[in-house]
Symmetry: C2
Subunit: 627 residues, 2 copies
Amino acid sequence: MNVKFLPEGKHVSIVFESTILDAALRGNIDLASECGGEALCGRCQVIIVEGSENLSPISEEEKKHLTNEKLRMGFRLACRAKVTGDVVVKIPISSRTGIQKLVVMGIEPPLIIDAHIKKAYIELAKSTLDDPTADDIRLLKKIKQVGLELKIDYGVAKKLPDVLRDGGWKITATIIGEKIVDIEAGDSPALYGFAVDIGTTKVAGFLVDLSTGELLHASGMINPQISFGEDVISRISHAMEKDGIKELQEAIVEAINSLIEKACDITDIHREKIYEVSIVGNTAMHHLFLGVNPEYIPFSPYPPAIAHSLNVDAAEMGIKIHPKGNIHVLPNIAGFVGGDAIACILATRIYEKDDLHMLIDLGTNTEIAFGYRDNIFICSTASGPAFEGAHIKQGMRAATGAISSMKIDKDVSFETIDDAKPRGICGSGIVDAIAEMLRVGIIDTAGEMFHEHPRVTEQGFVVAWKHETANGKDDIVITQKDIREVQKAKAAIQTGWRIMMNKLGVVERDIKKIIIAGAFGSFINPASAETIGMLPEVALSAVTFVGNTAGSGARMALKSQEERLKADEIARKVHYVELAAEEDFQMEYINALSMPHANLDYYPQVANSIKARISKVLLRKNKNLAS
Amino acid sequence: MNVKFLPEGKHVSIVFESTILDAALRGNIDLASECGGEALCGRCQVIIVEGSENLSPISEEEKKHLTNEKLRMGFRLACRAKVTGDVVVKIPISSRTGIQKLVVMGIEPPLIIDAHIKKAYIELAKSTLDDPTADDIRLLKKIKQVGLELKIDYGVAKKLPDVLRDGGWKITATIIGEKIVDIEAGDSPALYGFAVDIGTTKVAGFLVDLSTGELLHASGMINPQISFGEDVISRISHAMEKDGIKELQEAIVEAINSLIEKACDITDIHREKIYEVSIVGNTAMHHLFLGVNPEYIPFSPYPPAIAHSLNVDAAEMGIKIHPKGNIHVLPNIAGFVGGDAIACILATRIYEKDDLHMLIDLGTNTEIAFGYRDNIFICSTASGPAFEGAHIKQGMRAATGAISSMKIDKDVSFETIDDAKPRGICGSGIVDAIAEMLRVGIIDTAGEMFHEHPRVTEQGFVVAWKHETANGKDDIVITQKDIREVQKAKAAIQTGWRIMMNKLGVVERDIKKIIIAGAFGSFINPASAETIGMLPEVALSAVTFVGNTAGSGARMALKSQEERLKADEIARKVHYVELAAEEDFQMEYINALSMPHANLDYYPQVANSIKARISKVLLRKNKNLAS
């Protein structure tokens, strides 16, 4: 039977009871599916134009994701609608993937491949009356000749005599640490690893050839735990319910297994040739992956249960790789500074620098590492999801049609992702918009919007008029409330690095480099970020972007034992700063609410360039502080 | 309902469908049951005197163990006959346990208790804002203060935050090697271990308090693998069949679990407070316990698959102790020299001696270790079961009524175990009988019996006339064939130590001590053993008995890490002698067939004392050899 996709007009032929999503994949049609067809993300919404009678009945899951109005309009989830005859399907823009990629590759410094898992091909002399040595001793002696003192795992002991003889005394040993964990007859060099970055929202997996270090496949999916709660705190709440931890653990383990399965399918590699998985994630994701109770994390003094790195048997975790495979879980620093932050430090190498570096990993929680060599301070701030487009009236993620940058000259000009008609505004666009409004004086430094400007309506500041937009119905605006959200977010971040600057006794000109990490960070205009005070005022050339480095760190720890040790060392050496326990926290936060900051001396150039009126409130306050 | 036991005349009241064995246990009636009621040993045969209609029908298992004649005579297996009404039961002497104990304790030198598993009670400071250290780091730091660098097991990671808080930051950690494998809230010092000696016929288990080293319980049972074959070779044959290894492994694992359960029941200790099991056994028993294919052992060059000691997770083995408990399996030396031989060397401390020691562990396979310090040679000889009473016409094990020693002066005098009327002759009695016959000249040095003596009948040499015996029906005799069996057995042993003496270039007077190990060995008269040539001619004061030391060695390795390391060292340092590969093997064996030896120069005192005619055959042969 046939599925015709509109507006492409492409026909795809499929077998009975395939889903529309199957058809889209087969036809290489751009259709979003972040959960991989699990009816979790609700992204694969399509409109049935013809042949709705040739589809399976509307499922409960579809009813969950689609409003009654949408159901009436003919919307279905492509992953759930099974085709029993010809249909014509339209894909709305909102269901396109655009450039919003689930896997954003971060930088990865060159390193020497030295995986924790090794394989060795060994030829042994046959047992004879003159040399009737036991099989295990024969093997271990041979290995000792190359300087390795190993033990054999019980599973190897069990099959050793038969494998030795089947292989004609030629075998391949798989070695983890000081143990031979598997043997195969003959020469069998295949050796793969899988790196996983467990984000609160997304899970990314990377299949790596451990002999060459080559990345063979990368893929991502929505963290299925999202159905138990969108953010860390609501997940932890769920964990406190009966069987909550178990449910959350099973969900993420299944997700990782499906990423592994997918990568193996595509690369035609048997999953039992994957011998190790490395895991990074924030502390809560780390605990939930391990099935460790995370309930103490959100309460002062926010202690993680487990901070050291751990090696766990894959079989014990239910991760479907080689049954004797190892799961290496990177360490944590604090309740809100996890292995993902360590991975960033690892990938950016700031612990090797002699100059002062500031590393900002932007996200719902923003971690800021600041310092050099062994003097690195780190903190976490609850910056919230504003920069990812959430809690912003017309905010959206950085997908097709998102306004990603904006300027106000005589009039407003903007750019959208894929040059599509605007559908909303993403983080970088929001930062630009507020910086520009500040610069031209539409808002004051306290974020108060003035209504004189022709672009300011009752709704707020209009970035795009409705006739310019994709739906043609609504203006895309920045509201006063949006500005407040951004103020709070940037204040959280600014408070973090300001407290750390105070601690180190340094000023802006001491900062050699600011490194922005995180998938979203890459799109930001550094000038705008400085204007609103999210970053300290430094030369724009000192600001660099490294993308999503959590996955980079996971891959590095997979490929190199040295990097793994470094990660452990970083976790123990970095000085964690608990912002809430800092005396100047409240004052710093209040001062940081104004843009760029209550004390404009920190931002001489920004102060010079902005036309924004200085908030009277702040002037009064500053006077008080000075007196 | 009631079971009346004869000849005791004791009434035991039991519930419907209890077995006769249950009744006997309840009434404290002496009734043999070596398999623990599994219908494996066939030892619990009873005769139904009245009420046979009040019993369950005869089972297939009973048909296997009881001849048709016995079934007609009213024999039943007590473990299978279930009581549905009153019965009167007679227990024949052959079904009494007598002194034949399944567990024969060996000597055990004093040692410092230093178990591989430890417990530590730890009080931690509570997590605070000033010290928000992660739970795991807090714990490991505290432990590091006493000099231990540990890691935590995944299972511990999972429960750490809750146990810490449940215990008010006071916990007990269980430590195996460098890993914390369990934590409990509060102070929980209970720490037990279980040592197992897997014999081909018997399995013995010892429950040990690992804090004090105290032996809390010892028990034994028939090795249930016996239903798959009586000796090592027939077990290996069974292992080569489909699922054979699995069946044999399951049988022994179940046996060990039932020994553990029994010991725990009696001592009222929870089995999860047992954290480690140590295992010794001959190489084939070792392999079958581990589920390792033993099929290459019986074929030249007789290589074991596994010779190194192994640590295996109890859970992986199915041994029901603490789920994170460890199974320590002692090493092997060769295909026919296993961990039981190492245990003997360990317990007798011959590796610490500066003088020449000969250690003979008597059994179906007799291991002989010979030497001093690092110069210990070891071999194994297939001495067969003659000394255990098997393959001997009226041979029996050392149980009530066995003739255990014998003398010929004017007439024959003998002693029996428990001073009961004789029922047969056990190993020590057989050795005495043949030595005495040789001494008084009833047999020649080739073992040929002369018929002039009044005690020599057509059957053979009469040790006890029928009117003296328990059944009153048959003379107890030593037949010509019996003598041949003993000759072969002692020749095998003598060949072993003679070849080793040749290798070391030593003579009898160089031997400081001869140590006889093995349950059976303890009953032997050393003078008789020298007379027949089983031992070299040394001062009788130089011969000592140490009992069953395999279990001793297993307990030592359980209690002390140092002993465990010594066992590994012994396994690697001892020089294994493959007798079959020795050039002089055939010649030595032929010469050893005569008693005490073809060359009487080795036995000047025996030669002097015996009245035996020197075999003409041997005289001729010796002449040939001398020329």
